[in-house]
Symmetry: C2
Subunit: 432 residues, 2 copies
């Protein structure tokens, strides 16, 4: 029996024209072609170049993870030292590590895709059913693969006027041209975007076709620090749908959404201005107000672009760098199956799978934490998770600037928590 | 005082014309530009987007490694179970892991470059002094970076007529054309290469310029299994030097060089044909015949291209995949500084550093083994290392085919230990 009102599967052929010429040339997957024969019962394949596992130079891997509830307000630094010890290589993790040591397909261990699937299906909930996840070695590498998979040299890429410097370093050498769109405190301006696209033929430099890709950092935009509002997301999505533009949502800071400075942070400001080193009042646990089938943290965060994505035109890049550790070099892409397959093909001749050691570490953590532990670590339990920890530091830092800086310095504005360096480029002064 | 006869530093400007247009466009390193300011004493940079290390979700990492001498002939499988236990996070490794968890420059921890430098300077010994190493996420990714860094679309790449399928999957979508060179049991034919280059203008398809890159898998060539002889290496290098061609030496199997089947393996053949499961005679320890300043294993292996490389025209790709474990996704490039800098710039917008967990695991191993342990693991100690372990299996496998297969099957030829799938392509039938 079909579920009523369930979204129907995407006709992904409708999106096939977004694939770049280079990605189209990645035809024929030699490995998959070979699997047809090597997967037959009784066939022992010698073709994969797999080393003999008895000669791997590592016999076990153990990592200790803190309890996800250890980010306690009363002792935020010391608490982390009381680790929950993870028993060294319990049976299932030992078998997992054995697999992690060997070559694998580029999506790595199924366990990692399972973790990404669990997060996406419970937290992000894309608006179409046949979305897929593909583990990556982090957002920088995944972003580069995205340009190669979707853009041909000479094309323009829509982006906020002030955008992430690494995005520019990534596209300019490829012969892609950033097409700046004005932004305000709610993110990219939908008025500016609509105006640009409606009047493209008169505004655009000669020879530059209307872009079919748009780059967004919706949370903690770099360098402006803005968080895109839901209303703005709806407007931008609707325009992209009308003009058949795919959205690249680079969103490592999704769980680091803060209230505006001043909204709840008066306690912090007072504490800091008194030179008081105790934790500010704003960090005191707040009782959870609602229990629903959705994780509580999601209810306080701006929903993702993917939750609007009925067309399957969002390519979302996630990373564990900001939530677990950057050294993992582990994240994932969420997008439609057609796009994921093309990114997969690119990974086969580049990164291959993420590190098996990183994969094992994340699986070890997940065996202890599960999704509920992960969400507690981020925020869920008593609202003292990572999100609050960083917000309190933001508040203290801004307060210190406001109180202690020379009066001649400009006051910090709300929503200016950007990290990374800035670039402003217009397509009128590009020399590429 | 200058060392007499020491090779002089390379005038790398002489090689700059090999850099691709895309790589030339990777100008201006925003991170390095920022370091000018952020490295000043007293400056606390907030620009890097570095998470707070107290919120990393991993507190320690421990891996157990076998003794490098545990590949004993009498009990090759069981011996590996008696691991030397590595104490969990001894102080120096704990500090190393703390650094490995955070973002780093794309060359990762200095300790990994130190390990690569130790191997290269003691085993490979390039013929010019200012060679450099750059850690990578393995040869597949490093190879892709090489094409992007040195080749423009439409160019040809010289390669053996039968070459590695992944190399072809890597270059064809980039619009590069494989230019096949005949090969024999000693590897790529220098006669064929010289003939091709001397007569390029009459032989080559219209519009295809003479290639300036040559791809080689000198040991265990895929799919033919050949090991290039030293004489052949000298000839190929000399031709490349004359025609100003850079050599991409993809050499993960360097330490897996075997004697020809039959040369020493008669004992094996007999044992296997008797259905005897004991270790063949050829595995019995052989006393080391000479002690020199060079590692003993090097004296029995064909020297590398790098040892001939007075011009700095070899880009050597090394991997720990075949010697330690593929799941590490860790290797390194050895080449001149100019080339390494361009590959580094490519890594900044793609892979960034290798996994910190993999780096920590290799450093943990190296703390136990050191270079001498690594060389023992490979072969050095009593000649029972990896190289012998794989040769014995090769011998037993070939013997089994010879003895047990139906007489109608063709006999295996010497030097046909290739792994991976085959492709034959000529530049006459390319449709790319």
């Amino acid at each position: 029996m079909a579920i009523e009102n369930a979204p129907s599967a995407l006709p992904t052929d409708a999106l096939a024209h977004h694939i770049s010429d280079q990605a189209k040339r990645r035809t024929g997957n030699a490995v998959k072609a070979m699997l047809k024969f090597t997967n037959k019962p009784g066939v022992l394949s010698l073709a994969g170049g797999l080393p003999n596992p008895s000669f791997f130079a590592f016999k076990s891997l153990a990592t200790t993870v803190p309890s996800p509830l250890l980010l306690k307000p009363e002792a935020p630094q010391n608490a982390l030292i009381n680790d929950a010890f993870v028993p060294q290589s319990p049976p299932d993790l030992a078998s997992l590590f054995a697999r992690a040591l060997q070559y694998s397909m580029v999506d790595g261990l199924p366990e990692i895709s399972d973790i990404a699937n669990e997060i996406v299906s419970s937290v992000y909930r894309p608006a179409y059913p046949d979305w897929t996840v593909l583990p990556t070695t982090g957002n920088t590498d995944a972003l580069y693969k995205t340009w190669i998979t979707f853009c041909n040299p000479g094309e323009g890429v829509l982006a906020e006027e002030w955008t992430y410097s690494v995005m520019l370093s990534s596209i300019l050498p490829l012969g892609l041209r950033p097409v700046p769109v004005q932004a305000d405190a709610d993110g990219m301006s939908s008025v500016a975007l609509r105006n640009l696209l409606e009047n493209w033929d008169t505004i655009a430099p000669k020879g530059l076709s209307r872009p079919h890709t748009l780059y967004l950092v919706p949370v903690g935009q770099n360098p402006t620090g803005t968080v895109m509002s839901m209303q703005r997301k709806r407007e931008i999505y609707s325009i992209c749908s009308k003009y058949d533009i795919i959205i690249i949502e680079d969103d490592p800071y999704y769980f680091m959404q803060f209230d505006d400075y001043g909204a709840k942070a008066n306690g912090t400001a007072t504490a800091a201005s008194n030179g008081d080193n105790s934790w500010p009042e704003s960090l005191q646990p707040t009782p959870q107000v609602s229990i629903s089938s959705r994780p509580a943290i999601v209810s306080v965060l701006t929903p993702l672009d993917t939750s609007l994505d009925t067309d399957g035109r969002v390519i979302r890049l996630d990373s564990f760098s900001k939530t677990l550790a950057p050294g993992l070099r582990l994240g994932w892409v969420t997008c439609n199956k057609l796009f994921a397959d093309r990114i997969y093909a690119m990974a086969e001749v580049t990164s291959q799978a993420p590190s098996g050691f990183s994969q094992t570490a994340v699986c070890t953590l997940w065996a202890q934490w599960g999704l509920s532990g992960y969400l507690s670590w981020l925020e869920e339990y008593m609202h003292i998770g990572l999100r609050t920890q960083y917000r309190v530091r933001r508040d203290a830092f801004k307060c210190a600037i406001r109180v202690r800086a020379r009066p001649s310095l400009p006051r910090p504005r709300a929503r200016d928590e950007g990290v990374g360096s800035m670039h402003a480029r217009t397509f009128h002064d590009q020399r590429i």
